[in-house]
């Protein structure tokens, strides 16, 4: 199995789907010769050219709407929003059109589009270029929202997302782009609505997604010598949530921590925590803990940023609180 960058895995998925289905087109800013702000579409321009890669003006709401209109007429557009923060400018088409058309037109249309966007902080990008806005999207009925954490996941799931007949917001992560992982050589796909137990354990369930999954894996290794065995469950799909996998893990360990890069208030962690309280109360042996970003804009200074974003130490503190409680 070759080991490739997360960004390359996205690139390969796009490449393979462009080659597989003529209805797939890429739409976005600077995705052509330049290769995208993070180099994700590098090489695709030379291979597919202007007929398949549509470079746009800086008009996020309209390019999202173009994706919606084209999808309704049988295409499979993949729209790139350069930074997840800019999704604010595309939200009308996402919220009032893409997500609702299939339902409100009573099944007459489908909207098979993917909106790819990198969320999260890369270090020093500041308040308007660092946000993980997952919680903004999961409350919109009709949108699928996924946030893969590895090269293996991101390649297999992007291919599935492009083939899905529904609008999918595909959250990538700037911090993950330069991380390497193994991917199979064959043409594979992964389900986009299933959580993955990335590392089984017995003591505490740790639910995470996107950039927080590798951090949680590292915490697991660090705590092993102390005799604490974490079970790392990557949520992958934030809407819908894979309840069965979440509940099975909590019923096994009796303890849960949810870790995310998004702000704590109203986050995916709050939703998972509520679901556990509603469905697994009898299994719980300790309070459900959440770790997330502070309810603060993300400061530009690298020194200040770390106080706002969740760190490995915050996860360890949550583990200790649970241990002290039991």
């Amino acid at each position: 199995m070759p080991e490739i960058y997360y960004s390359k895995a996205v690139n390969e998925a796009l490449d393979e789907e462009l080659s597989r289905d003529h209805n797939v087109v890429l739409i976005g800013e600077d995705i052509g010769k330049y290769g995208g702000a993070f180099g994700v579409t590098k090489g695709l321009w030379d291979k597919y050219g202007a007929e398949r890669l549509w470079e746009t003006p800086i008009s996020e709401n309209t390019i999202t709407g173009i994706g919606v209109g084209a999808a309704m007429l049988g295409m499979r557009p993949v729209v790139e929003i350069m930074f997840m923060d800019f999704i604010a400018l595309a939200l009308d088409q996402l919220l009032n059109s893409a997500s609702k058309l299939h339902y409100m037109y009573h099944g007459q249309v489908k909207v098979p589009m993917v909106l790819r966007t990198p969320g999260g902080a890369k270090g020093g990008y500041g308040p308007s270029h660092s946000q993980m806005l997952s919680s903004l999207l999961v409350g919109i009925p009709g949108l699928k929202v996924v946030a893969p954490s590895s090269a293996y996941q991101v390649k297999g799931m992007l291919k599935t997302a492009i083939r899905d007949d529904n609008p999918v917001v595909f959250i990538e992560n700037k911090r993950l782009y330069p991380q390497k992982g193994f991917v199979p050589e064959n043409d594979y796909t992964l389900p986009i609505d299933k959580a993955i137990v990335t590392s089984p354990g017995t003591d505490i369930s740790v639910f995470c997604y996107s950039s927080m999954t590798p951090v949680c894996q590292a915490v697991k290794l660090a705590l092993k010598p102390l005799g604490i065995d974490l079970e790392i469950v990557d949520l992958v799909s934030l809407q819908p949530l894979d309840r069965e996998t979440i509940f099975a893990s909590v019923r096994k360990t009796g303890k849960a921590i949810i870790v995310e890069e998004a702000c704590l208030t109203g986050g995916v962690g709050a939703e998972v925590s509520a679901l556990i309280a509603e469905h697994c109360l009898d299994s719980l042996e300790a309070p459900v803990m959440r770790v997330g970003a502070a309810d603060t804009p993300i400061p530009s200074s690298l020194e200040l940023e770390k106080f706002v974003l969740p760190q490995a130490e915050d996860i360890i503190q949550a583990v200790k609180r649970i241990r002290d409680y039991c």
Partner: protein, 337 residues
């Protein structure tokens, strides 16, 4: 140039639209309709003239004031009424209502509840048509108010850059809800606000904006169905021939409030009376008669249209509502593996 038969057909469609809107207004007073509705009384000619110049496979995208557009396309009156009444037999099973009504098989891609929301969707449809090398085009209706949304400017810019087959149709009725265009549309020449009391000499307010994007813009009297048809037919012909996007601004006037029964405090009754004298529907019987169409044929056409609306309404009123499963299912398209 329209034949007598065509003009008579257009007249019938316009009467259908007027009768439909008046029936809706009546139903609101009985409490049978929920929410709100935006009537297009006075604006029938712009819808019928443009849609009449399109072909049945051209894709239409409409806005919040969309009943005229969809009835002009020939959607089933009873199923439209049923949709507005929230019944299961409506085009969208009662899920969409007035502002979210679609008939995909009739290439009516939907009314739209967000001002300016349809412009990118139509641009996207045009993108797909170009990509698929189709000879169909996309036509999007919007109001003067929508020309102040970012989507208007973004869509025109993109459509011109990509040379997309789309006709942008602005129905300028001089008011965005209550606010006159003189307060909302900045213009270079300082022209003053003037409702089109005559039938000629109309000044475009949105057309100059098209020029900024290198898009050909045409201004026409939107109350005159023949003038609308002529302008639309010419524009559609050029677009279909690969000439790129165009904008058509149709100066019109709604002879009713913005929605339901609002009291229209923002304009005078005198202005409305003046405009009523130039009602595009009322002027048609005389014009048809001048062309030699017998009076009884004109009257019979109007009577048949009104009777059809009444009959369709009664059928819609007798239709069932959906149940819990109709409200909760179908959020996602099931994948066919």
């Amino acid at each position: 140039m329209l034949t007598n038969d065509q003009l008579l057909h257009f007249y019938g469609r316009m009467v259908t639209i007027r009768a439909f809107e008046e029936k809706l207004s009546e139903l609101f007073t009985t409490g049978l309709l929920g929410g709100t509705s935006h009537f297009c009384i006075g604006q029938e000619a712009s819808a019928v003239g443009v849609v009449g110049a399109s072909r049945a496979t051209d894709w239409l995208v409409s806005n919040h004031r969309g009943h005229g557009h969809l009835l002009a396309r020939g959607l089933d009156v009873s199923r439209v009424m049923a949709e507005l009444l929230g019944r299961l037999t409506g085009y969208c099973g009662g899920r969409g209502g007035s502002q979210h009504l679609c008939s995909y098989s009739e290439h009516f891609l939907g009314t739209n509840g967000i001002v300016g929301g349809g412009l990118p969707i139509a641009t996207g449809a045009a993108f797909a048509l170009k990509y698929q090398k189709s000879s169909d085009i996309a036509i999007v209706f919007f109001g003067d108010g929508a020309s102040n949304q970012g989507t208007f400017h973004e869509s025109l810019n993109l459509a011109q850059l990509w040379q997309l087959p789309v006709l942008f149709v602005c129905e300028n009725n001089f008011y965005g809800m209550s606010t006159p265009i003189s307060k909302t549309i900045a213009r270079a020449d300082g022209a003053s606000f003037e409702v089109p009391s005559g039938t000629s000499g109309v000044t475009g307010w949105v057309t100059p904006r098209a020029a900024a994007y290198g898009i050909r813009g045409t201004t026409a009297d939107g109350r005159d169905v023949e003038a609308v048809y002529a302008a639309a037919e010419a524009a559609i012909g050029r677009i279909r021939a690969g000439g790129g996007p165009e904008l058509l601004e149709l100066m019109t006037y709604r002879l009713c409030g913005h929605s339901k029964s609002e009291p229209r405090v923002y304009r005078t009754r005198e202005e409305e009376e003046t405009m009523r004298e130039h009602d595009g529907l009322a002027m048609l019987p005389a014009r048809l008669a001048e062309r030699g169409v017998p009076g009884e044929t004109i009257e019979a056409t109007a009577a048949a249209a009104r009777a059809a609306v009444e009959e369709a309404t009664q059928r819609a009123l007798a239709a069932p509502y959906g149940g819990r499963a109709d409200a909760l299912g179908g959020v996602f398209e099931e994948m066919r593996q």
